[in-house]
Symmetry: C3
């Protein structure tokens, strides 16, 4: 935890640098101070097929789902959602002007009793290199 899963319509592939978008979300998530660096996993999934609103070919979306530990406070969860939203909006601002674009973020809980993890990134990132 946490996981940031960005889905986007494939028609954005040539307009948005999706790796840069992932990096912006990573940076924004870490800046909230809520997460340990080794725990943050941001990824983007291209949706080749889609039908959006009035189905104009230029209609497009980016939608991010954030899954994180239930134990966070509502304030922390809101801070994360807002930070991710702001980071993405800043990077794709020009897409809004043609009125064909929708951006969204959802945060939801991971139940600690029903999740398992093994993370070797922590071993490296919790200890400074010798």
């Amino acid at each position: 935890m946490p996981h940031f899963i960005i889905e986007y319509s494939a028609n954005l592939e040539s307009q948005v640098d999706m790796t840069a978008l992932c990096r912006a979300v990573l940076k924004a998530a870490l800046a909230t101070g809520v997460f340990e660096i080794g725990a943050v996993r941001v990824r983007a999934i291209k949706c080749e097929h889609y039908a959006i609103a009035d189905d104009k070919p230029e209609n497009a979306f980016i939608d991010a789902s954030v899954r994180g530990a239930k134990r966070r406070t509502p304030e922390q969860k809101k801070a994360v959602g807002e930070a991710v939203m702001a980071a993405m909006a800043s990077l794709v601002e020009p897409l809004f002007k043609d009125q064909n674009f929708a951006l969204s973020v959802e945060v939801r809980d991971i139940d600690p009793d029903l999740s398992w993890r093994r993370n070797s990134l922590h071993e490296r990132l919790r200890e400074p290199a010798a």
Copy 2:
């Protein structure tokens, strides 16, 4: 909101027009009267790797997750789920006959306190063109 996320095994790519499937789901969702047109985002994600049931190579699945506002009534949510299921089943009916195929739909809530959105489609679609 709402989001319709269809996942499918890649062996269906040559048998089902996935864009047509997205369009059928969009049309069915709008026909329920539950949603504003500018809010509906349907997409399909191809799963290149899979292992289904007895792992016969021709085994296949289509699974749709619908995420929408918590404030809808149970009746509205059921109407949407049933409409999506019926629209998809109608389009892929021939796939059932060889007994290698499973179709499914799940509807779940988005918490309004933990979701954010900015949608320029509404600006265009709420106002008739001059």
Copy 3:
């Protein structure tokens, strides 16, 4: 039900046989005795774009979400999560040693009142061939 959805960073494509991973998860899920064979659908989704932890290019993740019927007992859900985790860890054990890799599993419920399914695999797999 149940659905096993594995997401992974694309840099693992050349290091892990993702179809073998799906098969290992399928086998582990069935071995728990919790599920009917015709109901199990495991798939893996490649994430082409990602930003993980300190964003080193070799950082990688595999994350599995399991969605299954709410009616299962907590013990059954835990048994499934642990089995999936163990099956995946066993197959990707070498990835942990370079401290760039995180593996995770989450189990969550499907609400029976808001899910629909039609499964022709059961017709074949519940009856022995003549």
